[in-house]
């Protein structure tokens, strides 16, 4: 058989190969969850021959009042974060999409970039800003208004929700901007023709039309806040305020006994149920929001509201968000990194400024972590997108029975908090596959789990990209004598290239700031940049942690610049 005919056979076998890849990846996605479910019904350590099956873990979890207190706190925290995120994100999206705000491109850029700033860095900055005793803002307010006590406190559910909400505002912006962009303007115009003023149109038409889309975004943001680890860990931990993720971490790392994985797994299943319900609601809202979208081929131009005299207020709103959300916490982080120990600005503090924390950083460790992070930032998006393409092709282009199940599996990592995947993967590699695949403590386990965690986002991107390419194009290639691989590689892939490039860079940047999964799975040999910052913070080196967070932000800057240039070229940032 000639080489060309072999290649042709291989090309024809592409659907089968993709099916195998997708099936294999699905097993990898499902396995950590299966391990969590299994362990939730066991008593004893995994691998222990005396392991028994019991419902005791659930009894213990649900008979402990603390579990309910933590879940209530998590819901409060997530709702506050949601409210803050929407309070900043929706008006900003409205300004960008439906008004004549002059700096739309800048607004889009700053919001997209804002999403990439690590949450733990902002949380560290806010501690220095709003701590009841050492917070700069509290001290200023107390001295300015002669107050007896601090008026504000970051050490509360509300404070944590505020910081998390500011971090999630860009997400609210990006998601609701898409909603405002796709609203049918004719209804607003009709209302105006009937004499409704601008505010009435906004309240009774625009908001109501956008409501399903906003609700879908709200559910997504709520789920993200529910699964957040970094802000609750940095601010809440020391103040005895636990959310679901930090409480799970506490259960897995007890001070007075060996880890009780069954108990952690039982708590995880609670989160899985909550996440499943929220995901179902999210899916329903998304389907409903599409009913309000402009999908016709009619000439469509959104009605632009003139800001007029309200323009300075719009500038203040946007500027206020960036000062509060990004500039102030990062500035405080920088200030903290220059002092031997954190002090409020004063002549005495200025006299102690030095680069000592930067010079004393464990640079060998930092460079190792930077290398690991860079390897992961390159490999994770690459592997994720390869798998996503296979998933999307099987789901959208093939006729395999039951292919919709693969789409559901690809969505699972979004629905289930990533810390649960982390715990499942940890136990899987430690106790189940340790001999067959000894990847515990290596970057490869991080690669696999990071890939799983980003699969939902990546498949949404490749799904939407592939939907826009009509199957007739590939069918033409097949009719012209090409194989399935030819049609995919020479037609679909080039057309998908811009989407893939954008998604690759976005995932790479998110990997650079990923803390939750890395903390669960890190050992001496697979440390990442955020884990070193976290370890320094946790280990009592606040100044060093601040210095390294600043270094990390500086390291990310060129990558963010490349992302910005690329996204701008594709028109994804400009309005």
């Amino acid at each position: 058989m000639s080489l060309s005919s072999r290649l042709r056979d291989l090309g024809e076998a592409m659907p089968a190969i993709m099916l195998v890849v997708v099936a294999g990846a699905s097993v990898v996605v499902v396995c950590p969850l299966a391990v969590v479910l299994w362990l939730s019904w066991t008593n004893g350590s995994p691998g222990d021959p005396d392991l028994t099956y019991t419902a005791q873990n659930f009894v213990e979890v649900f008979s402990d009042a603390r579990t309910f207190a933590v879940l209530l706190d998590t819901i409060d925290f997530s709702l506050i974060a949601l409210a803050v995120a929407l309070a900043f994100g929706i008006p900003a999206a409205w300004l960008a999409e439906r008004t004549d705000f002059p700096a739309k491109s800048l607004l889009f850029t700053l919001m997209a970039v804002g999403l990439l700033i690590p949450g733990f860095a902002a949380a560290m900055g806010w501690l220095f800003l709003l701590h009841p005793r050492i917070g700069l803002l509290n001290q200023l307010l107390m001295s300015s208004f002669h107050l007896a006590g601090p008026p504000l406190s970051i050490n509360s559910i509300a404070g944590m929700g505020w910081v998390q909400g500011l971090n999630l505002a860009p997400l609210a912006f990006i998601m609701t901007a898409a909603v405002f962009r796709s609203l049918d303007p004719t209804l607003e115009e009709a209302a105006q023709m009937h004499g409704a003023d601008g505010f009435t149109v906004l309240r009774r038409i625009t908001v109501r039309l956008a409501w399903p889309g906003i609700l879908a975004a709200a559910i997504y943001i709520f789920m993200t806040a529910f699964a957040a680890f970094d802000v609750p860990a940095i601010i809440g931990w020391g103040n005895r305020i636990f959310t679901f993720t930090t409480y799970l971490y506490l259960l897995l790392n007890p001070q007075d006994s060996l880890p009780r994985y069954g108990l952690g797994a039982a708590l995880s299943t609670v989160a899985m149920v909550i996440a499943a319900l929220m995901s179902a609601w999210y899916g329903a809202m998304q389907r409903r929001s599409r009913r309000f979208a402009v999908v016709t081929g009619r000439a469509y131009r959104p009605k632009i509201v003139r800001l007029g005299r309200r323009r300075p207020a719009a500038w203040c709103f946007v500027g206020g968000y960036f000062v509060l959300g990004k500039v102030l916490p990062i500035a405080l982080l920088g200030w903290s990194s220059l002092l031997p120990f954190f002090q409020l600005p004063s002549a005495r503090a200025v006299a102690t400024i030095s680069l000592a924390h930067y010079l004393s950083l464990p640079w060998q460790l930092v460079l190792t972590a930077l290398w690991n992070t860079s390897v992961l930032a390159v490999l994770t998006p690459s592997l994720t997108l390869v798998l996503s393409l296979a998933f999307s092709w099987i789901v959208l282009r093939s006729k395999f029975p039951g292919r919709a199940a693969f789409d559901f599996i690809a969505f699972l990592p979004h629905a289930v908090p990533s810390i649960v995947f982390g715990v499942g993967a940890l136990l899987l590699t430690l106790f189940v596959i340790q001999r067959a695949l000894p990847i515990y403590g290596t970057v490869w386990i991080l690669l696999i789990v990071f890939t799983i965690a980003r699969l939902s986002y990546a498949t949404r991107m490749t799904n939407s990209g592939l939907i826009q390419i009509h199957p007739e194009l590939e069918e033409s290639a097949l009719i012209s004598g090409g194989t399935a691989w030819d049609a995919f590689a020479r037609i679909s892939l080039p057309l998908l290239a811009p989407t893939l490039l954008y998604a690759w860079l976005w995932i790479a940047l998110l990997i650079f700031r990923e803390l939750t999964l890395a903390v669960i799975l890190s050992t001496a040999d697979n440390l990442t940049f955020p884990v070193v910052v976290w370890s320094l913070w946790l280990g009592g080196g606040l100044g060093q942690a601040s210095a390294l967070a600043v270094v990390m932000l500086l390291t990310m800057t060129p990558m963010i610049a490349i992302y910005w240039l690329l996204a701008r070229r594709q028109g994804l940032l400009a309005s």
Partner: protein, 363 residues
């Protein structure tokens, strides 16, 4: 060749100094004995040792670099110390226990802990029994060794209360002082009930008094922090840590100009030891043993004091020894907390979880 001779010479000087400082039977300088020579060769073959503790313990990452240079210079080795700023001692030990149960290699080569962290895992048979005395006869003495060589004392700490002397509303003298209104909402405790757990013993405070105190303390504290996070006291985030692990962090922060002091409460003074143990599943067991041996030489103890303001109090010339003697002159009576003592007081472990839950739960 010349370099080898120089190393040999340095090693002999280091060991001779170690033995001379240890007086008595150890006064006679010895040749590098075959056991130590063998250990050095094996450690060199391993080439590295991985350590993990907080940044304030033994100088953290900077301290690790100093220990690496000093050890390699003194013993003629070429061993790299991989240091990871780590979580609390209990978590590191638990992770190694989990790795051991799973048949995996340990992620660190030395476990560091005091009695509260070590005693609960003794039954797991995690630690390698080592004949420490063979490496430094006379230098490593029987009073350093517990559990048949599975653990070895490396430094002595004095638990008390670390507080911010500039911002403190009053000068405290006993633990009860921190229950006064002036301190409410301004102090912290540890999430692992450091020091307070010892009070549970029947021959200290007993369960009833300790639980009542911790319940009252929990209502006073603003939050929890680890012993290694004394910077939070220095910044004024918390005005005191009730109780601390060693209190020596106060001296470290005083050197940096921070107004941090330690109170030795007359009603709860404790003298505890920090131990090293080599896990059976260590990746570099010989390098781990050699590092431990080096830490117990005068040079190692000097570095321990420089980086952590702490050393083993019964070693000749110990600064901690002088400090303890000074406290004793002031009628401070220390409870000596060893792993053995802890094991003889099962009432501590029976109630320790309750203390932890009280302290980590906000009312």
């Amino acid at each position: 060749m010349a370099s080898y001779s120089r190393r040999q010479w340095l090693l002999r000087v280091a060991l001779a100094t170690a033995l001379l400082f240890n007086g008595g039977a150890a006064a006679v300088a010895q040749e590098i004995n075959p056991a130590l020579k063998e250990l050095i060769a094996a450690a060199n073959r391993e080439g590295a040792v991985t350590l993990s503790w907080s940044q304030s313990t033994l100088g953290g990452s900077q301290g690790a670099a100093r220990f690496q240079a000093a050890m390699n210079k003194a013993l003629g080795t070429n061993i790299r110390i991989n240091f990871l700023p780590g979580p609390d001692m209990a978590r590191v030990i638990n992770q190694v226990a989990t790795e051991s149960a799973a048949g995996q290699k340990a992620h660190v080569d030395i476990l560091l802990g005091a009695a509260p962290q070590i005693a609960p895992v003794v039954k797991l048979n995690l630690f390698e029994p080592v004949d420490w005395a063979q490496y430094l006869p006379g230098g490593i003495t029987p009073n350093m060794i517990e559990l048949d060589g599975r653990i070895i004392r490396i430094v002595t700490g004095l638990s008390g209360v670390t507080y911010n002397a500039r911002l403190a509303p009053m000068k405290p003298a006993v633990l009860d002082d921190f229950l006064k209104a002036e301190w409410k909402g301004k102090i912290a405790s540890t999430p692992y009930a450091a020091g307070l757990d010892v009070l549970l013993a029947e021959d200290v405070w007993g369960k009833q008094k300790t639980v009542a105190y911790v319940q009252a303390l929990s209502r006073q504290i603003a939050g929890v922090m680890r012993c290694g996070e004394t910077e939070r006291v220095a910044t004024g985030e918390y005005l005191g840590l009730v109780m601390d692990c060693t209190g020596q962090d106060a001296l470290l922060w005083q050197e940096k100009g921070a107004p941090v002091a330690q109170l030795m409460p007359l009603d709860a003074a404790q003298q505890r030891y920090y131990y090293f143990a080599v896990p059976k599943n260590a990746q570099h067991p010989n390098a781990a043993k050699l590092f431990t041996v080096f830490l117990l030489t005068p040079e190692g103890q000097r570095l321990a004091y420089e980086t952590w303001k702490i050393d083993l109090h019964f070693m000749p010339g110990s600064r901690m020894g002088a400090m303890i003697a000074d406290y004793r002159k002031r009628d401070v009576k220390f409870k000596e907390v060893t792993v053995q003592w802890w094991s003889e007081h099962p009432e501590i472990d029976a109630t320790r979880s309750e203390l932890i839950k009280i302290l980590t739960t906000k009312e």
